[in-house]
Symmetry: C2
Subunit: 302 residues, 2 copies
């Protein structure tokens, strides 16, 4: 019955757990779920995957995603170890889109640009990875952006199983490596953070991680007045004090954070708490979308 | 055949135009579509629907939506005419959520609050309107938030035809009337603008309009450090210089803006330009979501 087979993905939509109706009460709030999450449901990001960016406004903490963009992540580690970003700047803040940082001279005046450190590779295209074998926590909630979506290692991602492709998604706080017109021109030296979701960017540019803390320092920067949100005057840029890997900081200076495991029962419960809400809420949609729930982060030892 | 009938909405998903594959080339860019839009595809918002809020940072222009929240909009007009908001403040900016303004004393110290002007009604609940008869430009693109979505009068909205309900959606830049725990406690004196999409708020609080210009002035404000993004100290708040209806301003002071009609061919073309992208983009999703395309606004006479 080929016709019945063709309908299968559509029937799956109707039977998705998120659409199955409200769970038995009492419904827990997100705050209650997070407060009740046992120690085993939290993880410490590896220090070699933690990028610590210091701005005059405060600290931005980024977790890198080597599973999805290993060659870009290797470059980013090399750049941080070489103190490449120290003294460079946030060049571009485009409202409802991105904040981007790197060398202001890189494009307009390459001869005046800061030299890239030795050991940097040309990483090529890292937009997607094979879907098969990924430890995906799939969302039953459906949308029109991709056939499958969910979380891996705490990062939001989407996938097309038929093409055996999976990719990180441009949700709020995700960090990517800027590229020029050439599809393989990113190298990790210019990075951006999403200050809005923009899933249309997926599969067009490599995502390399997620801001765990401090995204509000980037999203509240003044927007640039030139095209694409670039600043018109150099003094409008935000200078970068220092960027290091946590692994390269003295123990006392390392950020002490934990991230809720997206393969834990608490994460599943948190998604339900976002689908079904009480208290101030009088209507629940029984639905979340990939970018509407961010993975909780807390200070370690809380 | 009840079974076949039950499948109809799902089959509609498969046959939605947006999923029908790429249109013939050349594909136009969003900028090209907007530049080519004829005069007939633009409209001037009525001055009695234009709220002009002046902050030290600049002007925020809001178009009111009387079709969806007529009693709240009537109150907002009354409040503007009484200069109610002049000297009040932006009290709350919660990252990735909302910026909210009104009287800082209203909740904590009602006896010290600014008196509401005479003529204000208790508007009751205005979360939804009847779906039947709405001049909806439906999006063929599907998502999990509602059975139907699209645009009416330039505002993003969703609907459930079976329940004959339609409601404005909490996309970036939408403006709503804050309420307390009581479901009918909003009156329009405390307003908020979305600085991120949050469709889970739909049907929980009345939306009253959309920011046409100046949302970046609100979204780039420092985030408040107290719970829900309220500012901890009064001096951290952004004072409101003046809020007026354009209809009450002298002709020379009225904003001169036009909004692309969402019932125009240019809007349909713009949606296609966002689904199918060339140039820097190497992958197109053939999809938009309700909150991912904002309705263009330009200075009048361009």
């Amino acid at each position: 019955m080929p016709r019945a087979l063709a309908l299968l993905p559509l029937l799956a939509l109707a039977s998705a757990p998120a659409l199955a109706g409200p769970p038995p009460k009492p419904w827990r709030s997100s705050a209650e779920v997070i407060a009740a999450a046992p120690a085993a449901d939290w993880r410490e990001p590896a220090p070699e995957n933690l990028l610590v960016m210091e701005l005059p406004q405060g600290r931005v903490l980024i977790e890198l995603a080597p599973r999805f963009a290993p060659r870009h992540v290797a470059n980013i580690r090399t750049l941080a170890r070489a103190a490449y970003w120290d003294g460079l700047a946030v060049l571009r803040v485009q409202d409802n889109y991105v904040a981007q940082w790197g060398d202001p001279e890189a494009e307009k005046n390459p001869s005046g640009a800061k030299p890239l450190p030795p050991g940097l590779s040309k990483p090529g295209i890292e937009f997607a990875v094979p879907f098969k074998g990924l430890p995906l926590q799939a969302l039953p909630d459906r949308d029109g952006w991709a056939p499958v979506q969910g979380f891996v290692d705490g990062f939001p991602m989407a996938a097309d199983p038929k093409r055996n492709q999976a990719w990180l998604s441009h949700c709020y706080g995700m960090v990517g490596a800027g590229r020029d017109m050439a599809v393989d021109s990113s190298n990790g030296a210019e990075l951006y953070a999403m200050i809005a979701p923009a899933r249309g960017l997926d599969l067009n540019v490599p995502l390399v991680g997620r801001v765990l803390q401090g995204i509000e320092l980037l999203s509240s920067l003044p927007r640039g007045g030139a095209a694409l949100g670039f600043y018109e005057k150099p003094e409008q840029r935000t200078p970068i004090t220092r960027v290091r890997l946590a692994a390269d900081l003295p123990e006392a200076e390392r950020p002490r954070v934990e991230v809720l495991r997206t393969d834990s029962p608490s994460w599943t419960a948190l998604l339900q708490a976002r689908r079904w809400r009480e208290g101030w809420f009088v209507h629940s949609h029984g639905h979340v979308d990939l970018c509407s729930v961010s993975v909780p982060v807390r200070e370690r030892g809380r």
